[in-house]
Symmetry: C2
Subunit: 325 residues, 2 copies
């Protein structure tokens, strides 16, 4: 079976599970928006990583389905609450919950998603259920911390590249690492396998975020699925902006500082900032960063026994991180 | 040791645990308001019930401390999010989180409280940890459902007493039942003991809410700690209002319907509504309801082996439910 086919099959299993898992309908003020969220699609990266990580340590993916769905629901909880906090109107091409309903509904739907995530995770049949639940919980704690840093950084003038890396480690990297670690736990992996897959997840999650920053500036709008230059318009303190700031002097530095002070760039100025990102070396730095993480992540995979699942993980890494740019 | 002294000792242990459990300080935008919430005091009814339920089945309360604190943190999560949804300015005599900080902070602090609740619960050393975590999770699911019903009922004209009882069973009763059941699980109680304590919790939780409705109308402001007549001012669909509506005719029924339609009573009208509650028999019905629940709850305790802890639970029931009115 080709890698693409296997990915699409695993993704379908997760999608099917999510539809079947939630049979409740009442109160409908809660379950209607909740099902709306889970039917919103997405790449299902995290649940597929759970399944592959279980498989790669010798486990059966059937045993990891509950945990896999639990992780995806948890991810959706973070999206619903983050969208309220970020005042985001749309997600995956559809109105967000607080836009289509209201903020109160979105708060409650998020809470219920988190509860259901645990409910489904805890169906996992494993003697290591305590570890599984603890790793999952550490993930929730760190995601909240990451989001808190993210909101802090929006209004704080001085943010360093290191601050940014701490934030994305918690906000994005941790949940990917939780996915791979929980998959390995369900598959009853050894301590070494767990450590390798955890580190792999951290690296991939972090690289994925930096690459997302990069695609906002140099991506192909159609392939990326988001409006290019959005981060610049919002003045978001991305890896590129912080790295360019660190590397610039004179007029360029002043322009970047103004961008932060004004909370965003005018539409006509996007091109100018792209030039600064290019000439300052920030774009190359981001590319190098992602490239190094990919190499390191694949190095972690090499610590695992050779298998079809390991090859698949390696392909998945490239698929996630070598998006066209 | 007197019952009062034992209660105050158990309460202090929970308070101390909560202060010591959370050592994190960063990001301070998250942990400062979070600690503010947990330092807000309260009667610690649920965690004390966890400890007593562990003890009454022959367990050691030291083993139940983690679960006990986990339950209290979970309860505080619901308060922080409910206060946003209810637009409540004050809680326990202090500004609510979304008032003192803002809604975004309150959403995130609530999420983090829920994560920490699991984090601390999962420290419990018990072979029954999966059951403990599942009962806890069922509690979170039902609390969300109860809150969804509560918000639905605010804008729905036709709400029956049965609708109301379903709502408080989920929103208030369930969490008390979760407390007693988890205590019994930590103490490794038998299935019969678990069932008795679960039913006891449901009854006490439900009676506690109906009594709260009652105290709003006929309580002593100083002892109650809340402004009397608040529910009437807001037109809240309490047990009393719904029961009075069911029992009234003619002019009184019209007045009650107007109260609902107008979303509350003018200050000068509170006395008039109290009269209707009295003459319709709604107040007596609420008193009888609470009284019957107390008798039934104590009946459940009688199914347990006699012990000092059982006597203490019986006293605790009276203490909670025989507040002055």
């Amino acid at each position: 079976m080709s890698f693409e086919l296997k990915y699409s099959e695993y993704k379908s299993r997760v999608d099917r599970y999510l539809v079947e898992a939630i049979q409740q309908t009442k109160p409908d003020s809660l379950y209607k928006p909740l099902k709306y969220v889970l039917a919103g699609g997405g790449k299902r990266i995290r649940p597929v990583l759970v399944l592959l990580s279980c498989e790669v340590v010798g486990g059966n993916i059937d045993d990891a389905l509950h945990a896999s769905a639990g992780i995806e629901i948890l991810h959706n909880f973070t999206l619903v609450h983050d969208d309220i906090m970020d005042n985001a109107d749309a997600r995956r091409g559809r109105p967000t919950v607080h836009t289509r309903w209201d903020s109160n509904v979105a708060i409650l739907v998020g809470d219920e998603l988190l509860a259901l995530a645990y409910n489904i995770l805890l169906k996992t049949s494993s003697p290591r259920i305590r570890e599984i639940a603890s790793v999952f919980t550490d993930g929730v704690v760190e995601v909240c911390e990451g989001q808190a840093y993210d909101k802090q950084f929006e209004t704080r003038a001085a943010v360093s590249v290191d601050d940014y890396l701490l934030m994305i480690r918690k906000k994005t990297g941790k949940m990917v690492a939780v996915s791979t670690e929980i998959g390995a736990l369900v598959g009853n992996g050894s301590q070494d396998e767990l450590a390798a897959l955890r580190t792999y997840g951290e690296l991939v999650g972090r690289a994925f975020q930096v690459q997302d920053d990069l695609l906002d500036v140099i991506g192909d709008e159609k392939k990326f699925g988001k409006t290019i230059g959005g981060d610049l318009k919002e003045g978001k303190k991305t890896f590129l902006l912080l790295e360019a700031l660190r590397r610039s002097n004179g007029k360029d530095k002043k322009l970047l500082q103004m961008l932060i002070k004004n909370g965003g760039a005018a539409k006509g100025k996007i091109r100018e900032f792209r030039r600064i990102y290019e000439t300052s070396g920030a774009i190359d730095a981001a590319r190098d960063f992602v490239g190094r993480d990919i190499v390191q992540a694949k190095g972690e995979l090499q610590k695992l026994r050779p298998s079809a699942a390991r090859d698949m993980l390696s392909w998945f890494t490239d698929m996630l991180l070598h998006r066209t740019y």
